[in-house]
Structure formats: structure tokens, C-alpha cells
Subunit: 186 residues, 2 copies
């Protein structure tokens, strides 16, 4: 996922599952990419922001990564065709949420149809009027410090300013097109 | 990890574990960042490249993320003080390796002392003379298309050109300062 960009995103009902292995028509660069990312697991986060007209926007992302601790910087990736992109351009702040297993339903909701992502009582208004999702394991206010466009996509760099914690839970993972918990230590 | 940047990196033997929770002296931005990333799980990858003098370099990273499938783009984050940074600046190509549980020892080695990371027979010379680690689940040749410096760190954007696959395995995860497998589906 990263519902907006990731080749692992769950196809919408009725759409064909793209071929991942052994497709004789796929170019070797795309094949290598898909093979590799199928074998990679990722934590699941949700990024939210606010349009100029006050409409909340957001998406489920598997691309969240730390960049540095001092200053506290993180990155996420998205398509510039994503429903949230105008807000990311216009608004200097986002909320980044870390998800536990109990947040699986909201992860699915925030990767579903954009118009329905804030239908319900699963969020409240937080700092800067930004939408904060309820009952996540942790959330952070990020100030956008870089938007790096690459083709039709963007890397967004944020500096963390503050945050809050919810009850602890097992972390939510995405791997092989499915949600998982972390398993045994190795 | 991301041995070179990540606040979750395993301390070297003898070094103190940094305080993560409830440190009265930590600023709120750093506290929020550390709290949140403690609750995030990440896949483990290894990035390698080659210095101008032919010395192989590399590091274990938890920041690898896909950016787009068409064209196939990925990102990883690192400190510009990292031992591999000069090669990332000078060399246009890297190898990105996806790791399985059987690669746990090499993940540790590639986050240990930089001078010892290529001591041993755990790698071979691959495309462009770049070091390819043996027996990983998948690897990709990446051509560096952007190096975005932010403070003393960098986001590196690569376009995937080709790759290879090894035997399948459970994906290697890093969470709460420990290596894990993915657990049950939720």
C-alpha cells in the first residue's frame, strides 16, 4: 500500500490483479522492482492533512521512514495524482499516525474511496485544525520542509514538532498484500 | 536501524542505550518522534555501492520504500556522515537487497563496524562491479536519480534497472530494536 502509490496496493473489487511473476511482457526493470517489493514487509501509517476549504484528506502509507532524530525528520512517498496531493502542496502541516492491529479497519478505510475516508466518528480535529485519527498507537504533527517531485510522484520530508500517544498495541504490518502482526523474534 | 541513521539502531556493545520514554530533558519534538517510531515496524534491506578506489561499501537500512512502479522508483534515507555516503555521491549505481530471516547475520554485519562489513565470503561482484550479497531473497540494481540533502542527512531516489531473485524466505523485520518475522495475518 501507500494506497496512493504502492504496487502492493490491494486491487479494487473487480479489477484484475496485475501479474507479478513470470509475465513475459513485463520489462525487466518493472519485474525486478515488483519481485523485490513483494519480498519486503512494511509498517503501516496514515498521513492526514486539510484542504484549503477545510476538507480533511488522508491516505494509508507503507513508505513512512525516519530520516534523522536530531532534528526529528521523517519521509513518506506519494503520487502527485493522489487525492491528498493538493493539501500537501498548500498546507505546511500533516499528521502522521502509527497504527496497531486494532487500527486495521481504519487502514482499509483510508485506502478506500477518497470521498468516504472521513465518513464516521473515527477522527477528531487536532492541532492546526488537522484531522487526528482516534485510538492510534501514536501520532505526530509534521511540518513539511521539502516536497521533491520525481516524475508523477513526490517524496515529502517533514520535521516532527509534537505528538501524542495512545494505548500500546502490536504494530500493523503490510506484506504480500495482507495485513499482519510482527511475529516471533529471530 | 538503517544502521547509519535510525534512532532505533542497536547500540554498540558498551554504549549506553539512549533514553526513549519519559526523559525529562528531551524536547517534545524528539520525544514524539521516538515514541512514534518505536511503535512502527519496518522491513530490512541492505544497500551496497563501490568507492572510486574499488572498496565495497554498504549498510543495513529500514528506510527503503517504493515511490512508483512506472517508472520503477524507490527511496532510502541515510546520514551524510555515513561511511557509504562518499560512494553514494560519486557512484551512480547501488544494489538494494531484500532480506529474509536466513539473512539476519548479514543484516547485523552490515550494521556493525564499517571496516568489517565485507570481510568474508558473503558477497560477490555483480553488475557494474558492485557488491551483491549472497543468498538474499531479491536484489535490484538502482540508478541514483536524486540525492536530496536535508540537514546532515539525505534522501536517495533510485530508478530500478534490473535484478535477481534468491530462494523465498520469511521477510526480515525490525521492530522494538529486535529482528522479527511477519506474524499471523489480521
Amino acid at each position: 500500500m501507500n494506497s496512493e502509490t504502492d504496487p502492493q496496493s490491494t486491487p479494487l473489487p473487480g479489477s484484475p490483479v496485475p501479474p507479478l511473476e513470470g509475465d513475459p511482457h513485463a520489462p525487466k526493470d518493472l519485474e525486478a522492482f515488483k519481485h523485490a517489493f513483494r519480498r519486503h514487509a512494511a509498517g503501516v501509517a496514515i498521513v492526514t492533512s486539510l484542504n484549503e476549504d477545510g476538507t480533511p484528506v488522508g491516505f494509508t502509507a507503507t513508505s513512512l521512514a525516519s530520516l534523522s532524530a536530531v532534528p526529528p525528520l521523517a519521509t513518506f512517498n506519494m503520487a502527485r495524482s493522489a487525492s491528498a496531493w493538493p493539501a500537501i502542496v498548500e498546507n505546511d502541516r500533516v499528521i502522521i499516525h502509527m497504527l496497531g492491529v486494532r487500527n486495521r479497519a481504519v487502514a482499509q478505510k483510508m485506502s478506500g474511496p477518497a470521498a468516504e475516508r472521513f465518513d464516521g466518528d473515527h477522527w477528531h480535529v487536532g492541532p492546526y485544525g488537522l484531522p487526528v485519527l482516534n485510538d492510534v498507537t501514536s501520532w505526530m504533527v509534521g511540518r513539511i520542509v521539502e516536497r521533491v517531485s520525481v516524475h508523477n510522484n513526490a517524496v515529502v520530508v517533514v520535521q516532527i514538532e509534537e505528538g501524542g500517544m495512545g494505548d500500546d498495541d502490536e504494530a500493523l504490518l503490510y506484506h504480500e498484500r495482507r495485513y499482519h502482526t510482527p511475529g516471533s523474534e529471530v
